[in-house]
């Protein structure tokens, strides 16, 4: 049995240890906010926080995560009040929205360690793909979220 804490709740799974966390979140727990995009950690649509770090859950086998604490988009805030979520709404960032759970999770983790990011730091760290091309507003959203965090 593999134990996980997801968004503050404890779970135990009798699953093949190579099962990616992504599919555990989606198909076992029913947290479908975390998305499948590529399965090879290229696109970042599946980004969640594992023990405080942003990770691509499609390439994180649960056998290596026994006892880990996971936060998904559903657990980032109870009411979409996290500064990154607020900034995303204020800047009207999402279009199709499919990548945005991953973008938001990546940005939330990034801003914890980089509260005043430059554009170069953002470019180097936020590498998730958005096929709709929301990058213009996404960049504004990151700066706005950083400002909201200080407010």
């Amino acid at each position: 049995m593999i134990s996980l804490t997801v968004n503050g709740k404890s779970y135990q799974f009798d699953l093949e240890p190579e099962t990616p966390l992504l599919w555990v979140l989606r198909d076992e727990i029913g947290l479908t906010g975390t998305k499948y995009g590529c399965g090879i950690a290229e696109c970042g649509a599946c980004t969640v926080e594992i023990d405080g770090r942003a990770m691509r859950s499609c390439s994180a086998p649960i056998g290596a995560l026994d006892g880990a604490h996971v936060v998904t988009i559903e657990g980032l805030s109870p009411d979409a009040s996290h500064p990154v979520q607020k900034a995303w709404i204020e800047e009207d960032v999402p279009q199709c929205g499919y990548c945005q759970s991953g973008q938001i999770m990546a940005v939330a983790a990034f801003l914890k360690n980089n509260p005043n990011p430059t554009d170069d730091e953002i470019n180097a760290n936020i590498t998730n793909i958005c096929r709709c091309g929301t990058y213009e507003r996404l960049r504004r959203g990151i700066h706005r979220a950083a400002a909201l965090m200080k407010a």
């Binding site: 906010g33 009411d79 979520q85 009207d92 279009q95 096929r131 091309g133 507003r137 960049r139």
Partner: protein, 732 residues
């Protein structure tokens, strides 16, 4: 509407998955909402196709005045869901904060004489082809509410007016809320359609308005096709024959026998699927199979062969799409002659959400949960092939994780239906990224031969173009729509060009391979704007003219093109000096009824390192229902087109697509994204142009022309990553 955002509140909505047959509750979903804004449910589909308190098939108003406005097309991020219900609300005179929307049911439309009409979101036409209908629906409803109130008060309707979901009898000040009138109003039928507002009277249309779907997309609640959960559902993974049009010959099922969770191997004519109790297990089991495919001679084809075939074809006469004057003679007599061949490759849509569908095929009923750009065509297409009555097919349209033209077919829905029948249960079938990329219906590859003649003063006197490109009509099985060897998509933004050049001849070869092709964001303009606008740039430089001035001289009869061009020149500071290594390029085109152009500013090192730093857009879409969405769509269109220009290449080897995932089919990411600004250059009047696709078309020529401005190198083939952009030979 674009003002400050208040605190978010939570509302709970009970959502159901299949109430009509099973009454199965799928779950409870929390819906964050913007204060003062309209909303949409996290599960946007309408199972039953009816609601309490309906005024008609489009509008229901509850006793508390909350208004349901049905949206008949699809939401894939293009924002039309918000824009069209704005059009209804504009005329209905209801409180925008009390509006919610959901998809209109394709099944109800079948049962009620096509009440929702065209339900497709394709061709950038959702708003431009439906705004009038939606305004009229709103106006009709408002007038009936007013008549109901007037009847109740026994006063003339002319003394009554509606505003903010309330009808007021103006002489007495008496008021009735919409929610109190809906029952009476639903029984009324108007003798005449009421007039709708003229643009100066709009109060909601034209206001930058936050999209209704955004709050669902920041907390993971928006339900896409891939997120559907149906009780008792199994999962399927699928692999199609790697060579398109090839068939499954045989498959040895023994490698997956006894694997945990595996339920069945399902053979389809051109694919094999594994059904399991979990998607991951289905995918793992599928990987263990080694199907035998029947591909024939196609397995020896490759991109180099296609390229040389197309290049040979454009040297032979084609079907004539446009012919003005005598182009051959005019070029022969021209002082300056230009001659060039351009080429672009196949491109994948690569929507972030891979194709998927969930199907439950019971004896007399098929339910399909899918994100589709064409809910009613999906319904009719499945009914036709599966020999069901249309009213037996229920399409539950979800949010779409990208469309771009890919989600207009029934490939995935058909597969899911067959697999569901094979196991007798609901099945969610999900394409892997690799399946999605290798079994797309691609933007066709194209080669074009271009010639031009300039007179001694540098004035263009002749333009000749002969393109070879795959037929989208034939790709869709609509080959009889090809007329005299020509189809509109092949010549869009090419034969339709407005340039005042006296002699023009445009020829077409609709040239297919076995690689399936279809509509891809901006369609024909995606290649033709690159071809023509790059070649116009060649002509300008051969004439010794500034590229903007050269175009202006040919566009005096088109005020809309001139307005876009002049806006671009002004906002981009066209003509002002730039630092060494930096340059500007321009591209302008007409796509789905809108004139759109951009100026790209680039930085290019002598070693060939390219960065597109800033892009300035201008568009004339006539009117902008939601200017915020217009800006967003052009920003996004930039990235879509820039990705294609920089990296986009689907290549063929041994008959199969070589690329399989984002490691081999690269995307522009934040680090490569230019700063983008969008300017509306609206000419109004009768023009209602599209917005979702046009922005994709002009960026490739703008960047290529900027590269010429910096280096003097002319880019005649994409993607740029395969071209030599260096200007200095590396020293030893």
């Amino acid at each position: 509407m674009d003002g400050s955002i208040g605190s978010l509140t939570r509302r709970k909505f009970l959502v159901t998955g299949m109430t009509a047959s099973g009454g199965l509750a799928v779950g409870i979903s929390a819906l964050p909402r913007l204060a003062g804004a309209a909303t949409v449910s996290a599960t946007p589909w309408d199972d039953d196709g009816t609601a309490a308190n309906e005024l008609d098939a489009w509008i229901a108003i509850d006793p508390d005045d909350s208004v349901l406005i049905r949206y008949q097309r699809s939401e894939m991020g293009q924002g039309s869901m918000t824009a069209l219900i704005m059009c209804v609300a504009e005329e209905l005179q209801c409180d925008w904060s009390k509006v919610r929307t959901e998809y209109a049911s394709a099944n109800r439309s079948i049962r009620e004489h096509n009440v929702y009409g065209d339900q497709a979101s394709v061709g950038s036409r959702t708003v431009r082809e439906s705004h009038l209908l939606m305004q009229r629906i709103g106006a009709n409803a408002r007038e009936r509410l007013i008549q109901a109130a007037a009847a109740r008060w026994q006063v003339p309707t002319g003394e009554c007016a509606a505003a903010n979901s309330v009808v007021t009898h103006q002489p007495s000040g008496k008021q009735l809320r919409f929610g109190e009138l809906v029952g009476d109003a639903a029984k009324l039928k108007l003798n005449h359609e009421p007039a709708i507002k003229e643009p100066p009277q709009y109060t909601l249309i034209g206001q930058p308005t936050k999209r209704v779907d955004v709050p669902l997309k920041v907390n993971g609640t928006a339900i896409y096709g891939i997120d559907i959960k149906v009780p008792g559902m199994l999962f399927a993974a699928i692999e199609s024959c790697p060579v398109p049009t090839g068939k499954l010959a045989s498959v040895d099922e023994s490698p997956v026998q006894g694997m945990r969770g595996v339920v069945k191997v399902v053979k389809l004519p051109d694919a094999v699927a594994v059904v399991a109790d979990r998607y991951w297990r289905a995918k793992q089991a599928l990987a263990k199979l080694e199907p035998e495919w029947s591909t024939g001679a196609l397995a020896t084809t490759d991109s180099a062969q296609f390229s040389s075939t197309y290049r040979a074809v454009v040297e032979t006469p084609g079907a004539v799409a446009r012919n003005n004057g005598d182009t051959g003679q005019a070029i022969a007599g021209a002082a300056t002659k230009l001659d060039a061949v351009y080429e672009v490759p196949y491109l994948a849509h690569a929507t972030m959400e891979p194709l998927n569908a969930t199907a439950y095929w019971q004896a007399d009923r098929l339910d399909i949960w899918v994100g589709t750009q064409m809910a009613n065509n999906t319904l009719k297409g499945l009914a036709g092939i599966l020999k069901l009555k249309p009213e037996q097919v229920h399409v539950h349209n979800a949010f779409l994780g990208g469309g771009f033209g890919r989600r207009g077919g029934i490939d995935e829905g058909l597969q899911a239906a067959f697999v569901s029948r094979a196991v007798g249960k609901p099945v969610k079938l999900v394409w892997s990224r690799e399946q999605d990329m290798r079994h797309d219906r691609y933007r066709p590859m194209a080669v074009i031969k271009l010639q031009a003649g300039l007179d001694a003063g540098g004035k263009p006197v002749a333009l000749f173009a002969r393109t070879a490109v795959g037929s989208l009509f034939r790709g869709m099985g609509l080959g009889k729509m090809v007329k005299n060897g020509v189809e509109p998509m092949a010549i869009d933004a090419l034969a339709t060009n407005p340039y005042d050049i006296a002699n023009q001849r445009i020829e077409v070869h609709l040239k297919d391979t076995h690689i399936p092709v279809s509509f891809w964001r901006s369609v024909g303009a995606s290649q033709n704007a690159f071809f023509l606008e790059s070649f116009i740039d060649e002509m300008a430089h051969a004439a010794g003219k500034d590229p903007v001035a050269f175009r202006r001289a040919m566009l005096g009869h088109r005020p809309d093109w001139m307005k876009v061009l002049d806006t671009l020149a002004e906002k981009s500071n066209w003509g002002t000096p730039m630092a060494p290594g930096k340059g500007r390029g321009i591209g302008i085109t007409e796509c789905f009824g809108s004139v759109v152009g951009c100026v790209a500013e680039i930085d290019l090192t002598p070693q060939g390192k390219l960065k597109v730093e800033r892009v300035v857009y201008a568009i004339d879409c006539g009117h902008a229902v939601n200017p915020l969405t217009v800006a967003e769509q052009l920003e996004g269109g930039t990235i879509f087109g820039l990705t294609a220009a920089l990296f986009g290449k689907i290549s063929v080897k041994n008959g199969a697509i070589e690329q399989g995932n984002f490691d081999s089919y690269q995307m522009v990411r934040l680090a490569q994204a230019p700063r983008t600004e969008v300017h509306l250059a609206l000419t109004g009047g009768k023009k209602w142009g599209g917005v979702g696709e046009p922005g994709t078309a002009p960026i490739a020529p703008a960047v290529a022309n900027a590269i010429f401005a910096v280096t003097g190198k002319r880019i005649r083939r994409l993607p740029l990553m395969d071209q030599d952009l260096t200007t200095r030979t590396a020293s030893l």
